[in-house]
């Protein structure tokens, strides 16, 4: 690859600390770490269930240790952040037209909120929380 000939202003590694919206963007992206963590957690759990009652009990004892509980509480926070931002962003990435008109984003999120299992969807009063939209 040839070096760029135009000047590029160097960007600080902590650029996302400068503004709330940038910070929320990086937090949203960081949810990926916890999605991965919990996928592995579930995998190990299913493996333990397959190995018998004693092995399942050992897994649950490990999962009850303070560090793992704290990690899972943080994971829950990021999971909720992911759910909220995902439903807020989907109508922006996906344009649905009905009768030649674009369906407003708020309506789409509301429809999703009713059809999807209600317990898992956090509807912030059908409104977009401030600072959550980073499109």
């Amino acid at each position: 690859m040839s070096a760029p000939t135009t000047y590029r202003q160097p960007v600080s590694r902590l650029w996302w600390m400068k503004k709330r919206t940038y910070f929320m963007f990086v937090m949203r992206e960081l949810s990926s770490v916890f999605v991965g963590w919990f996928a592995v957690f579930l995998m190990v759990m299913v493996f333990a269930i397959g190995r018998g009652a004693a092995s399942y009990q050992r897994f649950m004892d490990w999962a009850a240790s303070p560090i793992v509980v704290v990690v899972n509480i943080v994971a829950l926070a990021f999971a909720v952040l992911h759910t909220v931002t995902w439903f807020v962003l989907t109508p922006q990435a996906m344009v649905v037209r009905l009768g030649g008109r674009r369906v407003p984003a708020v309506k789409m999120v509301n429809v999703a909120g009713r059809t999807v299992p209600a317990a898992t969807v956090v509807r912030v009063g059908g409104r977009v929380p401030a600072g959550m939209v980073i499109a």
Binding site: E29, V69, A79, T83, V116, T120
Partner: protein
């Protein structure tokens, strides 16, 4: 380059995993990450084993795990690119992220098959 042809596929896996995680992840974390380990609910082992080893559960679990792993790998790749300004390390990051997701998916397949 093949990488260009791979891009739509990884974006598809990212979106699929994103939807699955948005819908199921919070309740899964509450249930298996907190409620059961902390003893708020105590499912009977035999019952849990029977539910998990049903073929439909295995299929759903495999789909859930693979999609979540690729979603995570794809988003984490861009977190490293943009969040930490590591775009010049694009190739090793790409290999590590999707490689990890592939290894994880293979492990998930083995676990689900040998349950």
């Amino acid at each position: 380059m093949t990488k260009r042809h791979m891009e739509p596929i990884v974006w598809l896996l990212f979106s699929g995993g994103g939807v699955v995680a948005a819908v199921f992840l919070p309740v899964l974390v509450v249930l298996f990450g907190l409620a059961i380990p902390l003893g708020w609910v105590q499912p009977d082992y035999d019952h849990l084993h029977a539910v998990v080893s049903h073929w439909l559960t295995r299929l759903v679990l495999l789909g859930l795990l693979v999609l979540m792993l690729f979603h995570s790998a794809h988003r984490f790749r861009f977190t490293l690119y943009d969040g930490l300004q590591l775009r010049r390390l694009a190739t090793p990051i790409t290999v590590l992220c999707y490689g990890g997701a592939l290894v994880g998916s293979f492990a998930a397949l083995l676990i689900v098959l040998t349950l």
